[in-house]
Every structure is written in C-alpha cells, then in structure tokens.
C-alpha cells in the first residue's frame, strides 16, 4: 500500500488546499515600495535569492583569495602597464575635454537640454530566469539602494536592459534588451535613422521599423535615442551585424550587442538622470560669431619682424610646444594658410577641436595680459572666410 492509498483523504485535502493557496497567491499582489508584486513570485524569489547570493559570495571570496595570494607575481609588470595606460588616458582625456567643452558651447547656443547620468548604483548579477525563453537577470540590489522600476541598467560597454520588478530591499529583476518583450529607442550613429531595438525568442537583437528604401551598412554603430524615456540618449547598444530586406517594407536588421549579455557579472543601474542646460561655467560669454570663428582656420598673430624671435615670442609658443594629442592637433596648431571658402567647410568638420584649442589659448593669453576674466576670443579668420 503506497503513501497515497494510506493517506488518501489527507492527500486530497492537502491538494485542494494547495491548489487554492496557489490560485490565491497567483491572483493576490502584495504592495511593495515599487508597486504590486504577485505573492507567489515574491515568495519564490525571496526563497531562492539567498542561496544564489551565498554561492556568488563564496565564489567571489575564493577568487579574491586567489587573486590576493597567488597572482601577486604579476603585479609589478601590471603596475608598469597600468601607469603607461594612465599616461595615455590622461592625454586622451585632455583632448576629449577640449571636444566636450566645445560641444557644450554649441549645445548652449542651440538651446539643447541634456540627459545627464546623475548617479548610478553598482550591482552584482546573482541569477537568471534559468530558461531560454525569458531573458532576465536578478541583481543583489533593491529598494533600499534606490532601485526603482524602469531604471536603465548598463555597463561601461553599453546598454544591458531595464529594471522590471523590485522584489524587496535587496533583490531586483532586469529585463534584458534581447528579451522579446523589451524595446529600446535607437538611433543609427552615422545615418541618424531611428528605430526600435527588440529581442527575439532566440535571444538575438534586431533593429525594427527602418524603411526598406534606407541604406544601412553592417558595422554601423547603434546608440540609444532617448525617445523611450528610459535610457539616456547616446549610450552604445551595439553595431549592425546584418541588414536585409524584410517583410512589410521594413529592413530586417540584426544587431550585435555592445555588451555580452550572456556573461554579465556586474552592472550599473542608473538611479538618477537630470535634464539640464549644458554646464558652461567658466567658459565665458559666448556669441554666435565666437563659435563660428572657432570652426574657421585662424591666422596666427605673427610678430612683425625678426624671425629668430619667433621661437621665444608668446604668440609663437603654441607652435613650438608639441601638444599631447593626435597628429591632427599638431597640424592645426601650425600656422594655417589661407584657404578657399569651400575648403574651409571640410576642414571645419574634420578637425574642430584643435581650432577651439588655438582660440582658447589665444584668448587666455589675452585675458591674462589684460588682467580681465577669461573670455573666448575668436581667432582671426583667414582671408575670404570671414562669417557673414
């Protein structure tokens, strides 16, 4: 006589009660700080998450012990490599600061409002849905860390997904961008075409709603458009892997994601975004002519006489001091020859930053000599290129 025959009535009672409890748990939603969550999901996730967290922390501890005691032999060479990398990055940063400053000034001129990533929370991936049909991640951060529904989740490489549910103080659920139910507003970086990035049941990512008569090349970068009101604009999504004519007049565009969504261990949750005017404090008053002049090749202020004195004159200093940047920077800091107007336009687009560089150096020198606040002064335009 087996268990069910011996305890038939008890089993039937238990089954009926269990079925009702399950039905109840499925229907009932518990109000959490981040909205209603089904009780059955809350219980299941809170039961499994501590074990997953324990496994993660055990693995991390082992890895830390390994790194701490056995990998030390590589520290010296790695230190040297990192120092060299830091120097390289500082140089890169200087160049990018110049680009950013110029971009902010142009944005201000155009009245742009930017979406700034104000604060992020680093979180560890502690689990997945365990199925191929539901592309989810579980994070070890929740309501107590300020995580809320619909917050974007990223890594330094690009977009990962968004917060779907917050299960409590220390657990939240992320919907990956390769899930069929996800959708991210996207812009092709070169052609500026806009579409929606969606996942497929097989875990691929596609760009949708690009008309068939448009030209999209493989390798073209894809960034967030900001149109979905979830992700700030300009975050990398991936690159076009393949584009072909699809159904319903739209292109069928396969996307290779910037982030390897199958190998995520740590992510960043963007907890705060702010829309604000570009920060141009310290850049001084700006006029349209200033911006335009910076984009035009300037004629350096040459001393009237005595060529040997050029090397020591203040105006010639930028030429003799090689800037820590790319060859294009060096090229633009040498005196430019007068160019034709049509040629000016092309060079403006190709190398805008060094032109601003020269103008700012020039204005800084003028400001310090006149003991007045720093004010961008336009470089003298070349003949035939003066703005109207």
């Amino acid at each position: 006589m087996n268990f069910f025959e011996r305890h038939k009535n008890t089993v039937i009672l238990a089954v009926v009660l269990l079925a009702q409890l399950l039905a109840l748990a499925v229907q009932v939603k518990r109000q959490t700080a981040e909205g209603p969550v089904r009780v059955i999901r809350l219980v299941a996730v809170n039961t499994l998450a501590p074990f997953e967290r324990l496994l993660i922390y055990a693995g991390e501890s082992t890895r830390a012990a390994w790194a701490g005691y056995l990998d030390l032999r590589n520290v010296r060479s790695e230190n040297q490599r990192l120092k060299a990398e830091a120097v390289q990055m500082r140089l890169e940063r200087q160049r990018e600061q110049e680009d950013a400053r110029q971009a902010r000034r142009i944005q201000l001129l155009l009245g742009f409002k930017e979406q700034w990533i104000d604060s992020t929370v680093a979180a560890q991936v502690i689990g997945t849905s365990g199925t191929e049909t539901s592309r989810l991640l579980y994070l070890d951060k929740g309501a107590r860390d300020g995580i809320k529904v619909d917050m974007p989740v990223i890594t330094s490489d690009g977009v990962v997904g968004k917060i779907l549910t917050v299960y409590g103080d220390h657990i939240s659920q992320v919907l990956l961008i390769n899930d069929p139910t996800s959708g991210v507003g996207a812009t092709l970086a070169t052609s500026r075409l806009q579409g929606i990035v969606k996942g497929t049941p097989t875990g691929q990512v596609t760009l949708n709603y690009i008309m068939g008569d448009e030209s999209v090349q493989p390798g073209e970068a894809l960034v967030t458009s900001g149109g979905d009101r979830v992700f700030p604009r300009g975050l990398p999504i991936g690159t076009v892997a393949q584009a072909s004519m699809g159904r319903n007049l739209f292109l069928n565009i396969q996307v290779k994601t910037a982030v390897d969504l199958d190998r995520l261990e740590e992510v960043l949750v963007i907890t705060s975004q702010k829309a604000r005017e570009p920060d141009v404090a310290g850049l001084g008053p700006i006029r349209a002519s200033d911006i335009l002049a910076q984009h035009l090749p300037g004629v350096p202020q040459m001393p009237p006489q005595a060529p040997p004195a050029q090397a020591t004159s203040p105006t010639a200093q930028p030429q003799t001091t090689p800037p820590p940047a790319t060859p294009s920077t060096t090229k633009l800091q040498t005196p430019s020859t007068p160019q034709k107007p049509q040629g000016t336009q092309a060079s403006t687009h190709a190398q805008p930053a060094p032109a601003a560089n020269a103008a700012q150096k020039s204005s800084a020198q003028n400001a310090s000599s006149q003991n007045t606040p720093a004010k961008p002064k336009p470089a003298k335009p070349a003949e035939g290129t003066r703005p109207q």
């Binding site: 996730v45 499994l48 365990g130 191929e132 659920q173 049941p201 097989t202 995520l264």
Partner: protein
C-alpha cells in the same frame, strides 16, 4: 530481443520507489536554483532544463500518475516564478510530462541508461511542443525556434539525464 528486455512481462516486476520529504521538496529548489545561478558564470548551462529532468526522474521512479502530475506542476510553477511570463506555461507543460513519464514508467524498464536517454529525448520534444502550443494558442505569441539548437539541447539534456539519474538513484527508497 532488446525490446523485450525493455518492457515488463507483468506488473510484479515493476518496482515503485519513494523519496523522503526533504528530498522531494529540497531537490527541486536546489536544481531550479542552480539552473538560475549557473548561467551567470557558465552561459551554456542555459540549455539544460533541470526542472524537466527532475520531473521525469520523480515520475518514472514513483510510477504514479497523480504523483508525477503534481510533481511536474509544482516544479513547472516554480520555474514560472522566476520568469516574467504568465504562470502556468511551464506548469502545464511539466504536468503533462509528469503524467506521461509516470505512465510510461509503469510499462517499460527505465533503469538502464539507454532507455533513460531515449525517454528524456522524447519528453524534451513533448515539453517543447506543449510549450509552443501554449504560447501560440493561449498567449497569441509567435514562437520561433531553431530546430538545430533544440535538437542539440535535447541531446545535451538526455546525456545529462543519464548521469543525473544515476546520481539521484541514491535517494530512492524502495516502497
């Protein structure tokens, strides 16, 4: 001759097993939890469906249709909890697998590796078919699946089943 070895000649040959309560409850949580955790470090583990393997194992060991059905439903609903799809998708699929596996377990010998491999392969296909049917018929979703990938996953799960079932045999208690 081989087919004769796989089938029983009478009901007396059928051995029925039971499991302790900690194993019956703890093992599904452990394996479904592992299935959720392992792909974080080893993405290829995503192709394994430990819930399905456990449903088949419990069903063919207990050889009770009611028990197999309820076990499948419980494990399926547990998996549903970890997804963002409506409850019941995996629950219904695994209920049917539990019922089918226990029905087959009564009729054929499921103790040798070959029959376990074939049984798992067959029920992986049944599970997939039920899943696609639910998604299409009940939820109105267009489900696309890669036949090659699914065939590979079926083989991988069947191989895993051979080893996992051998391991789980230690927890069997003869009724």
């Amino acid at each position: 001759m081989r087919a004769m070895d796989l089938s029983y000649t009478s009901r007396e040959q059928v051995e029925v097993y039971r499991f302790s309560w900690p194993i019956s409850i703890g093992l599904p949580f452990l394996l479904v939890g592992l299935q959720a955790f392992l792909p974080v470090r080893m993405p290829f583990f995503r192709i394994f469906d430990f819930g399905l393997l456990l449903t088949i194992f419990f069903a063919v060991s207990r050889r009770s249709q009611v028990s197999g059905m309820l076990t499948g439903a419980a494990i399926g609903l547990l998996q549903d909890c970890l997804t963002h799809t409506p409850f019941g998708v995996f629950g219904i699929a695994k209920t049917l697998v539990g019922y089918g596996a226990s029905s087959i377990g009564i009729r054929i010998d499921v103790e040798n590796p070959g029959s376990r491999f074939l049984l798992t392969f067959f029920f992986y296909a049944v599970h997939l078919a039920v899943f696609v049917a639910i998604e299409r018929a009940l939820m109105g979703q267009q489900v696309h699946f890669n036949l090659g990938h699914e065939a590979g996953a079926a083989v991988a799960n069947s191989v895993m089943a051979v080893f996992l079932f051998a391991l789980l045999n230690r927890f069997k208690i003869r009724d």
